[in-house]
């Protein structure tokens, strides 16, 4: 078993109103960042886990997302492996 670090990025699904993202977008515009066309505010989770290899670590975190970390009705998730730690 090797320790791996895997990050999960969770964002509100496209098409779902994200009032927090809208508020941040408005604030950025008022600061002069007029080129910002969309902001979505989500959640970043960092998981340290032991696994046989990187593929198994990612597969395990994918299962965690499907069961608990993200709600597929309202959220999308992306998984990013930082490799062995």
């Amino acid at each position: 078993m090797t320790p791996y670090r895997v990050s999960v990025h969770i964002t509100p699904r496209r098409g779902i109103l994200d009032p927090q993202g809208k508020a941040v977008e408005g604030a950025l515009h008022s600061l002069g960042f007029e080129r910002v066309s969309s902001v979505r505010v989500g959640r970043h989770i960092v998981i340290d886990t032991n696994a046989e290899n990187e593929e198994a670590a990612v597969a395990s975190v994918t299962a965690m997302c499907q069961r608990l970390l993200a709600n597929p009705v309202i959220e999308d998730f992306e998984i990013e492996s930082a490799g062995a730690t």
């Binding site: 509100p12 779902i16 109103l17 009032p19 927090q20 608990l68 970390l69 709600n71 009705v73 309202i74």
Partner: protein, 230 residues
């Protein structure tokens, strides 16, 4: 009739629900601890309001995996009544007992205020004590009450009479202004396909006495008394 009221860490409406069941209705009530795996013979189970597990991750996301929930899910699958109030509604959606999800209020503010609703379906086991279309008032108190589901599910809920409570204004219209949280189609409460799981954002257990502003919540509990236990 015996009501089982689940207490999660962070539940804060369990006591009010017990009072509603025992003191107002004169029925039997029992607290069910979230770590137990026994419904103690409850005919009706209530998932009460509160902030189970501090609303960490998403409201209801962690409570949904509490040991008691496997028994609660079996109770619901059997067709027995399950009332899911506020945080209970969020837990039931997370558990897949009800479709859709409850998102942060559109205003991003926590809302604690009385709301007016229309009983859209008075033929459910939770609303038979009301008249069809009856206008009722109960308090809401939530930060995440914006009911959301995809269009196909919303159409299905509407088509099958499963939208049970809808936020309305004083003129009886389901306007955006009457909608406290931005819920799709002003939805305040729904039932599952079998009609035995009821999720609602307002608090009937806080509307049990005219002294507290409304006794319109009594009908929810009263309706259940005519249900044949399964």
């Amino acid at each position: 009739m015996k009501f089982g009221i689940v207490t999660f860490p962070g539940s804060n409406c369990d006591y009010d629900t017990m009072r509603a069941v025992v003191d107002v209705l004169g029925e039997e009530g029992v607290y069910l601890w979230h770590k137990d795996r026994d419904l103690q013979g409850a005919d009706v189970v209530v998932l009460p309001g509160g902030f189970s597990y501090g609303d960490y991750l998403r409201p209801g996301a962690i409570a949904r995996f509490s040991p008691i929930m496997s028994e609660v899910i079996a109770h619901a699958r059997r067709g027995a009544p399950l009332v899911c109030i506020c945080n209970g509604f969020q837990i039931a959606c997370e558990a897949g007992l009800l479709p859709g999800a409850l998102l942060r209020n559109q205003t991003l503010q926590f809302i604690s205020s009385p709301v007016t609703m229309r009983v859209e379906n008075a033929m459910t086991m939770f609303t038979s004590a009301y008249q069809p279309g009856q206008r009722i008032t109960m308090p809401v108190a939530h930060g995440d009450g914006r009911y959301t589901a995809d269009c196909a599910i919303l159409d299905e809920l509407e088509g099958e009479g499963r939208v049970v409570l809808r936020y309305i204004d004083t003129a009886g219209e389901a306007t955006a202004l009457a909608n406290p949280n931005g819920a799709e189609r002003n939805i305040a409460g729904i039932v599952n396909e079998q009609g035995n799981v009821f999720g609602l954002m307002p608090h009937p257990e806080r509307a049990m006495d005219d002294l507290l502003g409304s006794c319109d919540g009594v009908g929810i509990f009263q309706s259940l008394l005519s249900v044949v236990p399964v």
